[in-house]
């Protein structure tokens, strides 16, 4: 059981979600986030004064999946989320020790 955290461009969210659905992945959590990496920010001009906006809007997708689905899911996210331009985002995979479904009390792979 592992957790995938994928940070992608907001306009790619729909495609990433569809690619994951095609693999039969049943759920995910999406959070609107801000941040920057190599892309840096952009400038905005108000009354002739330029402001550098460091933090770019991104979305973060979080999912916990059985080990067997991880490679396919990561591949789907990278394929659907890619534009080839700077700022496409990153995917992180970390181990998870347990999961519990609150309604039934199921644990482990059964719960995700």
């Amino acid at each position: 059981m592992k957790k995938i955290e994928a940070i992608v461009k907001p306009f790619k969210l729909q495609e990433v979600k569809e690619a994951l659905n095609e693999l039969g992945i049943q759920g995910m959590t999406v959070i609107e986030v801000k941040g920057f990496g190599r892309q840096k920010g952009h400038t905005e001009i108000y009354r002739g004064n330029e402001y550098t906006i460091d933090f770019m809007p991104k979305v973060k997708i979080e999912m916990v999946l059985p080990d067997s689905q991880i490679d396919a899911a990561v591949e789907a996210i990278v394929k659907a989320g890619k534009t080839g331009k700077i700022g496409d985002g990153k995917v992180f995979v970390t181990p998870v020790s347990d999961a519990i479904r609150i309604r039934t009390g199921e644990r482990g792979d059964e719960a995700v």
Partner: protein, 467 residues
């Protein structure tokens, strides 16, 4: 038309004309009687024109609309979301405070006869300010209408200054400052420029004839220069200019701009104090200057920053309006276009470059737009004032026994410069002293922590957006 309908129409017309003719015949009286009535009316002194009064009441309401919701939205949109309510409150509260101040002593100090610098207390608590016109100021409207119209100016002028102290001033200090500022700066200036016997009042016995139709000196230069002093004495907002402090809602500011433009018709065309030719020319000058101001600012920004920003176009409109304020009612339409264009361009340079060069934090650009804009307007007015628009300027002002023309010339330019300089000096010195006293007593700024949390929550216990 159906035959029956036509018949009914003819019948109706016949009956109507019969009644009209008979009632008309009844009002015709012998010639002597009518003459006597005419003489009586003429000897009774000024009489109220309902047309003039209607326009002046509407104008008064329009000028109040400039403060709320005009300025409230314009300024409210320009601050960060944690300070929206506090910024709006800065304008809102003055509608209450200044109205009361105006009743108690404000109107009297500005418009009763006194020295060249102050009015007196003869209108204390509006004593004697009733429906009989005050023929010195406006012979065809009730004195009370004139008083109400002028009250709307004493509300918006200090509200303009609030843009320079936004996002960091303690509310108690703000209130005290505004009461003292209006008393020490605004009321004397209004008296000097518009009051009977005021130093600059060219039409009512002043010594130095300064042309200022609707408040270039009294409203905009005074508030603009005072705003600059406030920004310097208060100091920058914490984090300025390293941290970005962008407008939280440009849409509010755009709605506010529209309300300001419309309200400005009351401000400028209403300053004709009647609904005649002068009101029309002031109305036209106001409109065309706003248009030219927007094009000037937007065009220059497009050229220099490669983008025509929406807030820039709106700011140019306000700059054009502030610039034409003293000149409306004195200049032709082509002159108004020129004045507005200069206003848009010069104000852009002041806001985008002057402010950055000197590093003061005039948060919402009160000095850059109102102070600088109206100074440009006052100067150009000295050169462009035209007797074809306002014939009074060539046959009213007397020096000794000689009538002196105030039409556009080098001589009038000098008068205008004196007006600007004295207004700026009074505003700067008095503002500095008031702030020094308040700083030593109640303190001017909120604490760093309060500033970080935001004034809405720390000063007023509320938040603008709760979900």
């Amino acid at each position: 038309m159906q035959p029956m309908n036509r018949l009914a129409a003819v019948l109706f017309a016949l009956v109507f004309s019969f009644f009209f003719a008979s009632s008309h015949a009844a009002t015709i009286s012998p010639l002597e009687e009518r003459l006597a009535k005419l003489e009586q009316a003429a000897s009774a002194g000024p009489s109220i024109s309902s047309g003039d009064n209607a326009w002046m009441l509407a104008s008064s309401a329009l000028v109040l609309m400039m403060t709320a919701p005009g300025l409230i939205l314009f300024y409210g949109g320009l601050v960060r979301r944690k300070n929206v309510l506090a910024t709006m409150m800065h304008s809102l509260v003055l509608m209450a405070v200044m109205s009361v101040l105006w009743v108690v002593y404000g109107y009297s100090m500005a418009f009763s006869e006194g020295s060249p610098f102050f009015g007196g207390l003869s209108y204390f608590f509006l004593k004697g300010v009733g429906t009989t016109p005050n023929s010195d100021y406006a012979a065809t409207i009730p004195h009370q209408t004139f008083m109400l119209f002028q009250m709307m100016f004493v509300i918006i002028t200090p509200a303009l200054i609030s843009g320079a102290v936004a996002e960091r001033m303690k509310f108690s200090a703000y209130l005290l400052f505004m009461i003292l500022w209006v008393t020490i700066v605004y009321l004397p200036l209004a008296h000097m420029v518009w009051g009977k016997g005021g130093l600059f009042n060219w039409a009512l016995g002043g010594k130095i004839p300064v042309l200022d139709f609707a408040g270039g000196t009294v409203v905009h230069i005074s508030s603009g220069v005072s705003a600059l002093v406030c920004a310097i004495v208060l100091g920058r907002r914490t984090g300025y200019p390293q941290e970005p402090m962008m407008p939280h809602n440009v849409v509010y500011s755009l709605i506010g701009t529209g309300l300001l433009w419309v309200g400005w018709f009351g401000f400028n065309a209403g300053s004709a104090l009647g609904a005649g030719e002068l009101a029309v020319s002031a109305f036209a000058a106001t409109h065309f200057s706003a248009a030219a101001g927007a094009l000037g600012w937007m065009g220059l920004e497009w050229l220099l920053k490669r983008r025509p920003s929406v807030l820039g176009a709106a700011s140019g409109m306000v700059a054009g309006l502030a610039t034409i304020t003293p000149a409306s009612g004195f200049v032709t339409i082509p002159s108004a276009l020129l004045i507005g264009l200069c206003g848009g361009i010069v104000c852009y340079l002041a806001v985008a470059h002057l402010k950055a060069k000197f590093g003061y934090d005039d948060s919402l650009d009160v000095f850059g737009v109102h102070g600088v804009g109206s100074t440009v307007g006052m100067i150009l007015l000295g050169l462009l004032a035209s007797p074809s628009v306002n014939p009074l300027i060539v046959n009213t002002f007397k020096r000794g026994d000689q009538v002196v023309s105030l039409a556009g010339s080098g001589g009038q330019l000098l008068n205008q410069l004196i007006g600007i300089a004295l207004t700026a000096a009074l505003s700067a010195i008095a503002t500095f002293l008031i702030l020094a006293v308040l700083k030593a007593t109640v303190g001017l700024r909120v604490t760093d922590e309060e500033e970080f949390v935001g004034l809405d929550l720390t000063q007023h216990g509320e938040r603008a957006y709760n979900d």
